[in-house]
Subunit: 404 residues, 2 copies
């Protein structure tokens, strides 16, 4: 219940600033009159509030728009693309990707650093992130943009205090934000706040923000590179769970008896059937494909398309196992849609059908109403989503930014 929260009286002004900022952000260029009508505030109040937001660099005036009918044409407002920017990083086992976005969420620059193997010592990832960060910070500097924050997405679980435990990276209780923070000082970015998030959750947010699922009340996004994890969105808010483990479905048992042993100590886990390494091995694909790029462009989907027996069987088994595991989740959450992301998105449409069929097998009542589909977002979407958490934070609480 956590009701002992800082029960403080509402700050009306803060709230109304955020209300106006959110409306302007969502609806693109809009007039003050429209904002007033939508928000329920008066025109004068909107004038006041938008004044503060323009002053603070979050909104900008776009000149007068065309008049559709009679009446004075509106001066349009929109998010200020030249205002504060954000950096998103995506740490995977074999590379670090990053992007710089403006307030609207548009990518201004990208960078990627491939590495053989970043697993083990967290310092490896920090070192790999350094050139990425340097480039993006420089790009921001060259366009005179302040970087309002850096957000990192990685496979694993992030505790409430921000420490990371990741089987995929071999980390345990790593305070990545602190490590990156000290590194940032060297790069001339000291003081920029760093946040860390589980990539499964960022992938789910990405589907809602960039994947056309903004209307889904309950969205589940299964993704992962090594192990599988699900991000769950309820009305656009990430479900965390009591210990931050909500959606950790990688170690649900999908083999009734026996099954391959898993890193986690048990056997027959979902990861041992539908995890990337396991799937490639079962399909007889020897090439060490680790990122989604490799899976999506690699041989597996092609083999499945061509009907190669071993590949089809392994992929269908993976889909069936995943669908069965998702059955319990679906009956608990009653989702609108289940999106298959990460390397799963590269497995082709038949995979989604297999997942959907197994889901229907396990809980027939839900199957007809739940959409199961592949993600259409690119492989580095987690970095973009991470950056978007920062810019959305600015829009959702402009007062903090305006206070500088």
């Amino acid at each position: 219940m956590r009701r002992d929260a800082p029960a403080r009286p509402v700050q009306q002004h803060e709230h109304n600033l955020a209300l106006v900022a959110r409306l302007a952000a969502r609806a693109g260029p809009v007039s003050r009159a429209w904002l007033a009508q939508q928000s329920g505030l008066t025109k004068s109040t909107v004038t006041q509030l938008t004044g503060e937001l323009v002053e603070g660099g979050l909104l900008r005036e776009l000149g007068t728009g065309r008049a559709g009918g009679p009446g004075r044409p509106a001066t349009l407002l929109e998010l200020n693309a030249l205002g504060p920017a954000a950096i998103g990083l995506q740490v995977e086992a074999d590379h670090v990707a990053g992007c710089l976005t403006d307030l609207t969420g548009r990518v201004r620059d990208r960078a990627i650093r491939r590495a053989g193997d970043l697993r083990g010592e967290p310092g490896l990832a920090v070192r790999a992130a350094e050139p990425v960060l340097r480039r993006l910070l420089n790009t921001a500097l060259s366009t005179d943009s302040v970087v309002a924050g850096i957000a990192v997405g990685l496979p694993g679980r992030v505790s409430r205090t921000g420490t990371v435990t990741s089987a995929g990276l071999g980390w345990q209780g790593t305070d990545l934000a602190r490590l990156l923070g000290t590194r940032l000082a060297v790069l001339g970015g000291s003081g920029i706040p760093v946040t860390v998030r589980a990539s499964a959750r960022l992938a789910a947010l990405a589907e809602a923000w960039f994947g056309g699922e903004q209307d889904a009340e309950v969205l589940v996004c299964v993704s992962g590179e090594q192990g599988l994890g699900a991000g769950i969105l309820l009305d656009g808010t990430v479900l965390e769970g009591a210990r931050g483990a909500a959606g950790d479905i990688g170690h649900v048992r999908v083999r009734a008896s026996g099954g391959e042993p898993c890193e986690c100590g048990a056997a027959g886990c979902l990861d041992t059937v539908a995890g990337q390494t396991a799937l490639l091995r079962a399909a007889g694909v020897t090439e060490p494909a680790r990122s989604r790029l490799a899976a999506g462009e690699g041989p597996l989907p092609a083999l499945v398309r061509e009907g190669e027996r071993r590949a089809v069987t392994a992929t269908r088994r993976a889909g069936t196992a995943l669908g069965g595991a998702l059955g319990g989740l679906a009956s608990a959450l009653d989702p609108d849609v289940i999106v298959l992301g990460g390397y799963l998105a590269g497995l082709g449409p038949r995979f989604a059908e297999w997942v959907g069929a197994a889901l229907g097998q396990r809980c027939p009542g839900f199957a007809p109403s739940v959409r199961v589909r592949l993600s259409r977002l690119p492989a580095d979407i987690v970095a973009r989503a991470a950056a978007a958490t920062v810019t959305r934070g600015l829009v959702d609480d402009p007062a903090r930014w305006l206070a500088e």
Copy 2:
């Protein structure tokens, strides 16, 4: 996302009224000074707000309390037990129970109407509810209390528009609120708002409110009389799902192949193994036990305790099936606690162990951290929880009540 909600500016006064009312409700008799300190409002503001709440009959002054140390002793405030009351009804297949509670949630009167079989025509349930309502309304009248609302809990699904679909009662798209509303006019209770809720969700709220689980961030309560359903609470808020079906686990398939046919058309559903009728039959108990009273005081738990083979086997199978189904739910939600309510609570502690063991079998990662236990609440708790939704509604939004 449902963001197109009535985005209206905050009503600061409304919010602060609710803040003060909630604090007073939770902490029992308190002084104005304490409220000011806790809420972050000033003493003068609290004086103003509590004045309105006392005026409106929601709070009452309790006289000056003892002074612990030096200083003027406080005049204590608490929820006004003589203020508005609420009626909760619990409709089951063979009876209608009801209670009248005051603002504090204390039961002032109870009533129950047993009937042979209320399934089929909704009018049967309405007629059975009539004497219950008459008695409770009379009790309220005799103590000069206004009934602020009536809430009904029943097994089944309640759509967003309030219509009920219940396999257990044989209803489909029934607008019970309207039916009861017209009946209420006859009983001199016209105008009292009626709401209808799924009893699984009310049972979950009951565990949070009366069952000692007020601190659980994620609470799952499995309950049911005929079919099983789970109520899910996230930070005290009921999870609804995209179609209002969140937690409907009764028709998750728990038999890989075959399994008994279910009412729903499929086969091998959880209800066919762990539902009450199925369980009693499998255990060889012929007596037609329908309500939890019958199961809890009936022969089954005794037989299990004594180790009668057929009863033990059937109950263990039911527990194993339920635990397996809850595995997927647990990995999705990462709950603090799973409470077994309804007739399951009468199956004894070994049942909970079986459920927990099967849960651990299915997802080992979660098992150690999730408590699985039986409900300690009485059989008619749904009625009390229903009434409490009404009184909590008053405390959570006192402004609406004060506006009369």
